[in-house]
Amino acid sequence: MAGLGSCYEGGDGEGKKKDSIYHQVKEFLDKGETLAVATIVSVKGSTPREVGAKMVVTAWGEILGTIGGGCGEADVKREAIEAIRTRKPRTVRIDLLDDISSDSPAVCGGIMNIFIDPWWPERDQEAGSAR
């Protein structure tokens, strides 16, 4: 990219990102595992994280990434394990309004819809008609 009369000063240059959530997804799929990707697809009111925030849940309930700390994550984890078992996606509505009176630090006050999508190797390979 550097032009004429310029030179490159050391370093590894193009800082490749190897830590994206899909790197982690691929790692699990390569081991033949089924996992679930939970994504915030819509929100109303004040929520801890933005639309598009993701969390990966493994078949054993291991969690990578966050969709907002304590706020509803336990519910999502339970549903994700169910989605992995049945291999059927589902949408979960997390209502954070209930939390306001509690002494939990996760007081947010909004509602978020979370799509829980199971991924498994055969499904991932269905990439089909690349044009």
Binding site: E9, Y22, K26
Partner: protein, 255 residues
């Protein structure tokens, strides 16, 4: 045959712009399944298991709109076969900050920009300033005639350019190279008097249109009462973020 995860990993590593559309809900006669996906890269389908050409067409169209808005969103698509709720996950080209001039403001500027997840490129014509020891966090450090280096670069709407060279006689030829580029932000340091004179030369000698000149943020940065180089760097990046995200830069409490 390739897989979704392989394509997604490649997109992330290559810093490409892409959209992953996932069907979240299906209503009507449609045979599309919830969880079906279409991955769009460079305006083309890179992978899909939707199975319905009309749905893929609609997704392709909507992806372009989502990408230019840089916003992930749930969208209802009305198709002859039924209604699909589709989540569009936008993976924009990572923003690039091009810092021209490796002086005392550049050092904290690069540090803060890395915290903000920019791909940072530093350019200076002096190896004494443009080097790895001075900028260990930078993704690229380029040494060469600054205007010429800029001329050779491909400047996309993901580029944000900060002109902070050691003198006006260096900033101006750099600005001349980039003023017509697609860069989303061009900022130039300097006093109002010098900037005014520079813009006048652009009008008179280069016949640069007024709306093109108005794109340039000069003097550079937000008015936050800066005193130190690090504070100036923060004011510059505040302006960059304001342009990127479309903010107003007023105190939220003043609304």
């Amino acid at each position: 045959m390739t897989s979704f995860s392989e394509e997604l990993v490649a997109i992330s590593e290559q810093g490409a712009a892409a959209v992953l559309a996932t069907v979240v809900e299906v209503a009507g006669e449609s045979r599309v399944e919830a969880g079906a996906k279409c991955l769009v890269r460079d305006g083309k389908v890179a992978a899909e298991n939707i199975g319905d050409p009309a749905a893929v067409e609609a997704i392709l169209r909507e992806s372009a709109a989502r990408l230019s808005a840089e916003k992930s969103q749930l969208v209802s698509l009305d198709l002859p076969s039924g209604k699909l709720e589709v989540f569009f996950e936008v993976m924009p080209e990572p923003p690039k900050l091009i810092v021209v001039g490796a002086g005392h403001i550049a050092v904290p500027l690069v540090q803060i920009a890395k915290v903000l997840d920019f791909h940072v490129i530093v350019i200076d014509d002096r190896l004494l300033f443009a080097n790895r020891e001075r900028f260990p966090d930078a993704d690229e450090v380029l040494v060469g005639d600054m205007a010429r280096v800029l001329k050779e670069m491909t400047l996309t709407p993901a580029c944000y350019i900060v002109l902070i060279t050691r003198g006006h006689s260096y900033d101006e030829p750099c600005l001349r190279e980039i003023i017509h580029s697609q860069a989303k932000y061009i900022g130039m340091i300097g006093s109002r008097r010098r900037i005014k004179a520079c813009f006048q030369r652009f009008r008179d000698e280069d016949k640069v249109a007024e709306e093109v000149i108005e794109r340039v943020y000069a003097p550079i940065g937000l008015d936050i009462g800066t005193e130190t180089p690090a504070e100036i760097a923060l004011a510059i990046l505040g302006e960059v973020i304001k342009v990127r995200r479309g903010g107003k830069a007023a105190s939220l409490s003043d609304r």
